[in-house]
């Protein structure tokens, strides 16, 4: 008799809350995988619009080898992205010259030297700096930085690699500082205590114990900064001068990959070669930043394995 009771469900715990629980679990799972769906979706949809161009008008040697980006020419349409790639790289390079020393220096000061209230206030300030929108940075480059560069170097136009690089450096530095400081914080305190017990000064401890231990995290902070520089759009569009150029000096104007898409997409007909070419630039940017982020992630994982 007791057997039938069990079969009829007295020990079957599938009541309403059990079903609710399972339903919610499925819903949460859908939310969880949505990030994966979106990242695949970005690749698929940006790729889809670029494919017609990729398989017909696209030439590998022209795209990566020619500096002639003439998407609107009547009889001689060419899509050479080399100057745009060099433009993006030169602005990012200049930005890193500014951002790497200052952000690492600030991270060491905030993370290791500063204490108590000073440390908290500095961290909050850096976090606020990271929040300034890209278009406002672009506007600062266009107006304030432009004027400073014209006055300081006595040149007619101040919208160039130097301007965009400094702006981008100031933009990327707060984020790099935060990530680098996290990397320093991740070094176990017992390392520090061991070094201090041996009689090391704070600086000796930082240089010989903390920095080597945090190396991977610092490298990944720099990589994420580079990734951000590559992908920055509005600030670079407004501060770089936006003219196609292989820069010979920091005072030359350049044009970036991102800025080209932002400036030209509004004027192209859907489905045209020009339109496809802009989406192809997008695929290229997506792949580059994906690789940079992946590398940064792998570098950080390297520490945890150890």
């Amino acid at each position: 008799m007791s057997d039938t009771v069990i079969q009829e469900g007295r020990l079957d715990r599938r009541d309403v809350s059990w079903f609710v629980d399972k339903t919610v679990q499925v819903l949460m799972f859908v939310g969880g995988i949505s990030a994966v769906i979106f990242i695949v979706g970005i690749f698929v949809f940006v790729g889809k619009e670029g494919f017609s161009f990729l398989f017909e008008g696209f030439s590998f040697t022209e795209f990566f080898g020619s500096i002639n980006w003439r998407p609107t020419s009547e009889n001689n349409q060419t899509f050479g992205a080399l100057a745009l790639i060099v433009g993006t790289a030169s602005v990012t390079g200049m930005a890193m010259l500014v951002a790497i020393p200052f952000s690492l220096g600030a991270a060491i000061y905030i993370g290791e030297f500063a204490t108590g209230k000073t440390r908290e206030s500095l961290k909050i300030l850096v976090e606020l700096l990271a929040a300034i929108p890209s278009v406002v940075w672009g506007f600062i480059g266009l107006t304030i930085m432009n004027g400073i560069i014209i006055d300081l170097f006595d040149i007619p136009i101040g919208l160039n690699v130097l301007n965009a690089g400094i702006i981008l450096g100031l933009m990327a530095a707060p984020i790099m500082t935060t990530i680098a400081e996290d990397a320093l914080k991740a070094v176990p305190d017992k390392y520090r205590e061991a070094a201090e017990a041996m009689g090391a000064t704070k600086w000796q401890m930082i240089r010989q114990v903390v920095l080597p231990a945090a190396k991977n995290g610092l490298v990944s902070a720099v990589l994420l900064g580079i990734g951000r520089g590559f992908g920055e759009t509005m600030a670079v569009l407004m501060a770089s001068g936006h003219s196609i150029n292989i820069p010979g000096s920091p005072f030359d104007s350049v044009r970036a990959l991102t800025a080209t898409i932002a400036a030209e997409l509004g004027e192209t007909a859907v489905g045209s070669d020009h339109y496809g070419a802009l989406f192809t630039l997008g695929i290229f940017l997506f792949i580059i930043t994906f690789l940079i982020n992946l590398t940064a992630d792998l570098v950080v994982k390297g520490i945890r394995k150890k």
Binding site: S17, F38, E49, P101, S134, F139, L142, L265
Partner: protein, 289 residues
Amino acid sequence: MFLATELNLQNYKVQGRWRLLFLVMTVLLILPVLVILTLLVVRGGGAISWEFLSEFPRNGMTEGGIFPAFLGTIFLVSLALVFSVPLGIAAAIYLSEYAADNWLTRAINLAIINLAGVPSIVHALFGVGAFVLFFKFGTSILAASLTLAIMALPVVIVATRESLQSVPQAFREACWSLGATRWQTIRRIVLPNAISGILTGIILEVSRTAGETAPIMFTGAAFFLPFLPESVYDQTMALSLHLFVVSTQVPNVPENLPYGVALLLIGIVLTMNALSIGFRVYLRNKKKW
């Protein structure tokens, strides 16, 4: 015996110099931006008035106010929140409460990192390809806010996950041992204890999306509209794009107008951010465990 030796003194001197160098670097990182912000206030402060906030742009955007752009930014940000907050919280609950440490979880985490790292202009291309063309929303508030929502998703997920994970495991175990299901535990114990951290993340998302320009340029924000949008299928003006337009595309704009727009935009973003930080500090001091 405990007197400092020559070498000790030398070492402390070296340390002092490095410390000073790092301090100078920190100051040089922060100071220029403070100077720039002061300049924005000085040059743009005069432009901000009630008329500036409440009127339409006039005379080819060289006069009048920024009301439709201001309202447009509010529309875009609110609709983006409607899409991204439930999805982001669900994702964070899955990652924090359900997910096992397997390849799928690693893939999700990697996707979140990359979603945050994809350039904003690529998000814009995605918005055009997916929402404007494929789902046929056209250039509309709907398409623009969906694009913004996907861009901001990592912010919500990361902030929510962090605050869920800071709820002590013992709270959950106590609840399970009373016979509650996973969901009952999450709803009655975990979420109420994490709600303030989640709110902090949402405020941060508002600040992030309000300043974005590239993702909305081609998906739903217009350079100029003489009327307000009537449905989510209409285009709208937006504050961030308006700053780009009046500072680069329109001739003969009086100097203090773009400064005023920049000041207003940065004011909104920084206020939101300061609110989020203040909230966080307050919570940390209040925390019972």
